[in-house]
Symmetry: C2
């Protein structure tokens, strides 16, 4: 697969600017999202070809509950960045999009000004089933955007459970947008996303400055109690990034300069101390294994030997006539039974 000669698609992506590149970008991502085996082989060849030209962007993850103002924030930030010479890509992870029939970014009028600017590229979330599958397509789209010269890639997700973890797992920095509400931070702690946050942004300070200040104090205190911040453990290490909390108003265009200064400081520190490179390596490894495990589950589900007895054994387990571990061992044996290359999972499952 990896010996395919450079395709015209890759050349259009790497060499051109303007409408031709834009079309190539859209076409490449559509190819990546295809489920046809021949398309998938082409997409893998394309990815391998593009890979040396990727990785030069800063990858910024953004999440927050519905109503926190993500679209307004991302549009304001995107316009701020292109005015300073950056080329911005906005991608999304929304595993619910295939259910709802529309992506959180499907309607480009959501970011009206940014979507019309040719220095920005906005792509809705892929609409294909599992979170793992959706995240994979977004990761691949990110690589293609990087190859096309976008130097800031923003990946957003709506705050629903595991998708934040997926976004934090594919970006260099993860920012959590919060409303100045009591309890909002507890929800974030509960979902485990506070733990992932490199930066917590309290948006909509224009609505209630006093509440925003209380929220900032509360979240800072929570971070300290949870031990996420370095402040509670000995001297503050200047060489390492410590999670921060800041207030701004994307609607009023207030605070974006401070936000981007914090991002730039994060990038500088984490590049110098090697943590950014290490994070990317770990992400690539985790990504590979996540896809392997998902693929193994698919192979198991597709195995004829397994399918022949799975319903019956599941019923026996549910009715308490067969121990779950005994059923698992039998099914694993059936799965691997016909392949002498595989060990017998029975003896040590």
């Amino acid at each position: 697969m990896r010996s395919v000669p450079p395709s015209s698609l890759a050349q259009a992506l790497l060499a051109n600017r303007g409408p031709a590149q834009r079309r190539a970008l859209a076409k490449a991502i559509t190819l990546l999202e295809s489920t046809r085996p021949d398309h998938r082989a082409q997409a893998d060849a394309l990815l391998t070809e593009l890979l040396p030209h990727t990785g030069k962007s800063f990858r910024l993850g953004i999440s927050g509950v519905p109503g926190v103002g993500k679209s307004t924030f991302i549009e304001a930030l995107g316009l701020f960045l292109i005015a300073r010479g950056h080329r911005v890509a906005v991608l999304a992870v929304d595993p619910s999009s295939s259910v709802s029939g529309g992506s959180i970014l499907g309607d480009k009028t959501r970011m009206e000004h940014l979507s019309m600017d040719e220095r920005a590229y906005i792509r809705p979330s892929p609409a294909s089933g599992t979170l793992g599958g959706v995240a994979e397509k977004t990761r691949e789209a990110m690589l293609v955007c990087e190859a096309a010269g976008h130097d800031v890639v923003i990946v957003e997700t709506v705050g629903v459970g595991q998708s934040e973890t997926a976004v934090a797992g594919m970006t260099d920095m993860y920012c959590l947008l919060q409303l100045p509400n009591a309890g909002d931070d507890l929800q974030a702690i509960k979902k485990g996303v506070m733990e992932l946050a490199d930066l917590v942004v309290i948006n909509k300070v224009d609505l209630d400055a006093a509440a925003a200040t209380r929220a900032q104090a509360q979240i800072t205190s929570s971070l300290r109690l949870l031990g996420y911040s370095g402040h509670s453990h000995g001297p503050h290490d200047e060489q390492v990034w410590h999670p921060q909390v800041m207030q701004l108003s994307a609607l009023k265009n207030q605070g974006l300069d401070r936000f981007w200064a914090a991002v730039a400081q994060f990038q500088k520190l984490q590049t110098a101390n090697g943590k950014l490179a290490a994070r990317r390596q770990q992400q690539a490894k985790d990504w590979m294994w996540e896809r392997i495990h998902a693929g193994l589950r698919q192979q198991f589900a597709a195995s004829l030997a397994v399918r022949g007895v799975l319903d019956d054994r599941t019923q026996q387990v549910l009715q308490g006539r067969l121990a779950a571990s005994t059923a698992a061992r039998e099914l694993l044996h059936l799965f691997s039974g016909s392949d002498p290359n595989l060990s017998n999972g029975n003896s040590h499952a």
Copy 2:
């Protein structure tokens, strides 16, 4: 496997009381913990034979950080229960026991009085590798204890990450022991264990009654903000259990009657509304799939075709020369390639 005639071990477990049954119980659990394939087959036959005689106990999960007083609490509770005619089994999940060389329950002097009573059976955590493997042995040991007539099975774990989830996933009711410390509840929320708790017990009130009262108010308030408690959502449903917070002192033997009254109320409600049976069915199903997924990973790791290239592909991924998803597809293809029964994971991984 399931046609093996009733073994003498099963008969000793089901028929006898006293020292003979106690020896059979220890022997059965040792058999379950063996990694020898022939032992494993015997253990599966034994489990299937015992299964109709299991499930009649109440399964109580207990966790809490080191120092919270778990041993004192469980010993006091165990003595309280056997004095009221119950037969108690105490099991443990401690995935670190194989590293530390000793289980959290290895030293029976930890529960000196309870361990000497023949109405109680205390078994240290199995010491074998992964959390999934340790949890499996404990689940199986629980079934054997139930078949031997123990009507209360307590499964404890020390508060280290995922082990609480494993214990909550194998018991009818999960109780979280807390110290009356500020921040203790935030740690529990962070680790996701507050969410699992059916009952939060603030132990050691003898040390500081005022702090315990503050902790109770704080945890109750957190539960409400997090939406775990029914109080914030419309009328309180009397037919459904709502997580509770209570104070006691196991050391002073104060509050165990209230604790057990709450457990009895939980059992009554959740039996009447069907949630206890549904929880057990879901647990059995989850257990089966957890073991299947672990087994698939083992088979993958043992595949000769995979082992031949895994290191190389991992290096290519880490060096940015191969996309993680492309590597995953190639490895999955190698894994399944020689088995015509399996679908090609390449096209839709």
